[in-house]
C-alpha cells in the first residue's frame, strides 16, 4: 500500500432530475498514472469539475496529500496542488504561448501591484524567474519554437501540449488531464504518451480521463470505469478491460461473452 496522494470518496452530484454521479470515489498513490474511463456521458468530466471546485457536490470527502480540502473555490484547489486541463482546451487565445505558461506561475509567486509599479529588485528577480521557468516548461513539452506566437494560432496538438505546460507551471501535486489525446493522430499520441511518462517519472501524479484504450492500457497503473455516474469497475487496466460489466457498458449486452478474448 503506497503513499496515497489523492483520496476522494462518496461523491454525489445531482443536476435537477439527473443523478450525474452516485457515490464515486478514487484513491491515487503518489507517482501513479490513474485513468478515469467510461462511455460518453458517464460523468467523467463532471467528476473532474467536482474535485477541482467548478461544481459543488451534494456530498463527498476530499483529501489531498493527507489534508482534507473543500472543493468550493477553484483557485484554492489549484493553490493546494491540483492542476487541470480541459476537454475543449481553454488556453488564453490572444496571449503568447510563453505568456500562457507564465500565467501558470501566478499561484506560486507573489509580486504585488506596488512592487510592479516601483520595479523593486525582488519583483524584477521574480519576473526573471517566472520567464525562465516558463521557457523551461515550453522546452519540456517540446514547443519552445512557438514561445512568442499567439496561443490560438498553434496547431491543435501543440495547443494541448501548451495547456499541459501551463498546468505544470503551477507546480502541482496532481495533474488532472481531461482527454489530452482527443483529436490527436497516432504520431501525436505516441509523443503525448512519452511526455506523460516523463512527467510521471519526474514525480508528478497524473489523473487522466481518456477514451483511447491503447493509451490507457499502455500508460495507466490503475483505472476506474464510470457508467451513468456509477463506478462499475476499478483496478488494473488489463483486469478491468476484461470485466463483463465494462464490456457491456461500452459495447452493449450482446458482447458480454467476449470477456475471454484478448485485445491488442
Amino acid at each position: 500500500m503506497g503513499d496515497v496522494i489523492l483520496k476522494i470518496t462518496g461523491v454525489n452530484k445531482r443536476f435537477g432530475g439527473l443523478q450525474a454521479l452516485s457515490d464515486v470515489g478514487i484513491e491515487i498513490e503518489r507517482g501513479q498514472i490513474y485513468g478515469l474511463i467510461g462511455p460518453n456521458g458517464a460523468g467523467k468530466t463532471t467528476f473532474f469539475n467536482v474535485i477541482t471546485g467548478l461544481y459543488t457536490p451534494d456530498s463527498g470527502t476530499f483529501e489531498l496529500d493527507g489534508k482534507s480540502y473543500a472543493p468550493t473555490d477553484v483557485h484554492k484547489v489549484a493553490e493546494a496542488g491540483i492542476a487541470r486541463t480541459f476537454q475543449n482546451i481553454r488556453l488564453f487565445p490572444d496571449m503568447t504561448a510563453l505568456e500562457n505558461v507564465m500565467v501558470g506561475r501566478h499561484v506560486r509567486t507573489k509580486a504585488t501591484a506596488l512592487g510592479a509599479v516601483l520595479r523593486t529588485r525582488a519583483t524584477r528577480e521574480e519576473e526573471a524567474g517566472i520567464r525562465k521557468r516558463a521557457l523551461e516548461l515550453l522546452d519540456y513539452v517540446g514547443i519552445t519554437r512557438y514561445a512568442n506566437f499567439q496561443a490560438r494560432t498553434l496547431a491543435y496538438g501543440d495547443q494541448r501540449r501548451l495547456e499541459i505546460a501551463r498546468a505544470l507551471a503551477t507546480d502541482p501535486k496532481v495533474l488532472a488531464l481531461d482527454e489530452p489525446a482527443a483529436g490527436m493522430n497516432a504520431t501525436e499520441k505516441v509523443a503525448l504518451r512519452e511526455l506523460l511518462s516523463n512527467i510521471s517519472k519526474d514525480g508528478i501524479t497524473i489523473l487522466l480521463i481518456e477514451h483511447d484504450v491503447k493509451l490507457v492500457l499502455g500508460l495507466c497503473d490503475r483505472v476506474t470505469v464510470l457508467d451513468y455516474g456509477k463506478m462499475i469497475a476499478q483496478g488494473e487496466p488489463g483486469d478491468v478491460q476484461r470485466s463483463p460489466a465494462v464490456i457491456e457498458a461500452y459495447l452493449g449486452g450482446a458482447h458480454k461473452n467476449v470477456a475471454t478474448k484478448e485485445h491488442a
Binding site: T45, N49, L54, Y55
Partner: protein
C-alpha cells in the same frame, strides 16, 4: 385622504408605465441577450413626435376633442418608434450579433447619445409642455384622488399586456418568438426566420414604448430630450426584478417597482425623520436595481442561473 391608498394607486399608475417599457427590454434580452440601452430614447423620440403632431393638429383644428388628438399623437408615435427601432436593430445591433458582449453595449450607448442629440437638434433642449388632453377633473376612488388620465393609463396598459400575453402564448407568432428566444438556430431549422422574429420583437417593444411615452407625457404634462433615460433605467430595473427575458416577469416587476417607488417616496420622510426627502425618489430604483442584480440576478420569476462546465 388616505395616504396609503393614494400612494398605492400612484404606484399602480407608475408601475403600469414601467411594465410597458420593461416588456420591450425583456423581450429583446430574451432573444438577443442584449440590453437595448437605447430603448428609453426610442420612447422619447416617439413622445416628441406625438407632441409635434398634437400641437400641429391643435393649431389646425382648435376645437378637436382631446382624446382624438391623443389618438392622433399615438398614431404618429407608434410608427415612428417602430421605424427608429428597426433601423437601430439593422444598423447597430445585427452586425454585432457574434461580437464580444462589450461591442453591442457600446454601440447601444452610442445610439442612445445620437438619439438624444438628434432630439435636441429638432426639438431644442428645453422642457416642452405636453397639453392636457384628457379631462382634468379629479375623481374619487376609495378615499384617494385619481384623474381620468391615470385611469386611462392603467386601463390601457392592462389591455395591452393581456393582448401581449395572448400573442405570446396563443399564436403562431408567439410560439415562434418563444422558440427563437430559446434556441435561434433550431428555431430556424423548424422554419422560423430568426431575423424576422427579432425585427417583430423590436417592433412590438417599440410600439409599447411609444404608448408608454405618450402616457408619461400626458400624466406629467412635460416632454424633453432626456425624458427617456430615467424611465428607461427604471423599466430595466423592473425587467430585471421580474426576471429578465420573462414576459410576465416584466409585468410583475413593473407594477412592483412602481408601488415600491411610490410608497417609498411617500413615506421616506417619515422613516428617516426628514433627513431624506422625496427628492431621493430616483435613488430607490437604483438601489433596487443594484440589490436585485447582486443578490438575486435571476429576478422574481426568472430561472436560477445554471452552473457552468
Amino acid at each position: 385622504m388616505d395616504t396609503f391608498i393614494q400612494q398605492l394607486l400612484n404606484g399602480l399608475v407608475l408601475g403600469s408605465l414601467y411594465s410597458l417599457i420593461a416588456l420591450g427590454y425583456t423581450m429583446v434580452y430574451g432573444i438577443l441577450n442584449l440590453i437595448n440601452f437605447a430603448h428609453g430614447d426610442v420612447l422619447m423620440i416617439g413622445t416628441l413626435t406625438a407632441l409635434s403632431t398634437i400641437l400641429l393638429l391643435q393649431s389646425m383644428f382648435p376645437e378637436a376633442p382631446g382624446w382624438l388628438l391623443l389618438l392622433a399623437g399615438l398614431a404618429t408615435a407608434i410608427p415612428t418608434c417602430i421605424i427608429v427601432s428597426l433601423v437601430i436593430e439593422r444598423v447597430a445591433y445585427r452586425p454585432l450579433r457574434n461580437a464580444p458582449r462589450l461591442a453591442p453595449l457600446i454601440t447601444a450607448i452610442g445610439v442612445s447619445i445620437v438619439l438624444q442629440t438628434v432630439a435636441m437638434l429638432i426639438w431644442g433642449r428645453n422642457y416642452l409642455v405636453f397639453p392636457q388632453l384628457l379631462p382634468a377633473a379629479p375623481l374619487e376612488v376609495g378615499g384617494a384622488i385619481v384623474t381620468v388620465t391615470k385611469v386611462v393609463v392603467v386601463a390601457l396598459s392592462a389591455i395591452i399586456m393581456i393582448g401581449l400575453m395572448l400573442l405570446v402564448n396563443r399564436t403562431k407568432l408567439g410560439r415562434a418568438m418563444r422558440a427563437t428566444a430559446e434556441n435561434p438556430r433550431v428555431a430556424g431549422l423548424m422554419g422560423v426566420n430568426p431575423d424576422s422574429v427579432i425585427m417583430i420583437t423590436f417592433a412590438i417593444g417599440a410600439a409599447l414604448a411609444a404608448v408608454a411615452g405618450v402616457m408619461i407625457a400626458t400624466t406629467y404634462s412635460v416632454a424633453h430630450f432626456y425624458m427617456g433615460f430615467i424611465p428607461g433605467l427604471k423599466a430595466f430595473t423592473a425587467a430585471v426584478l421580474g426576471g429578465i427575458g420573462n414576459v410576465p416577469g416584466a409585468m410583475v416587476g413593473g407594477i412592483l417597482l412602481g408601488v415600491i417607488e411610490a410608497l417609498g417616496a411617500g413615506y421616506i420622510g417619515e422613516f428617516t425623520g426628514g433627513v431624506f426627502g422625496s427628492n431621493y425618489q430616483d435613488v430607490f430604483a437604483f438601489i433596487v436595481l443594484c440589490a436585485v442584480l447582486i443578490f438575486r440576478p435571476s429576478g422574481l420569476l426568472g430561472e436560477r442561473v445554471a452552473e457552468r462546465a
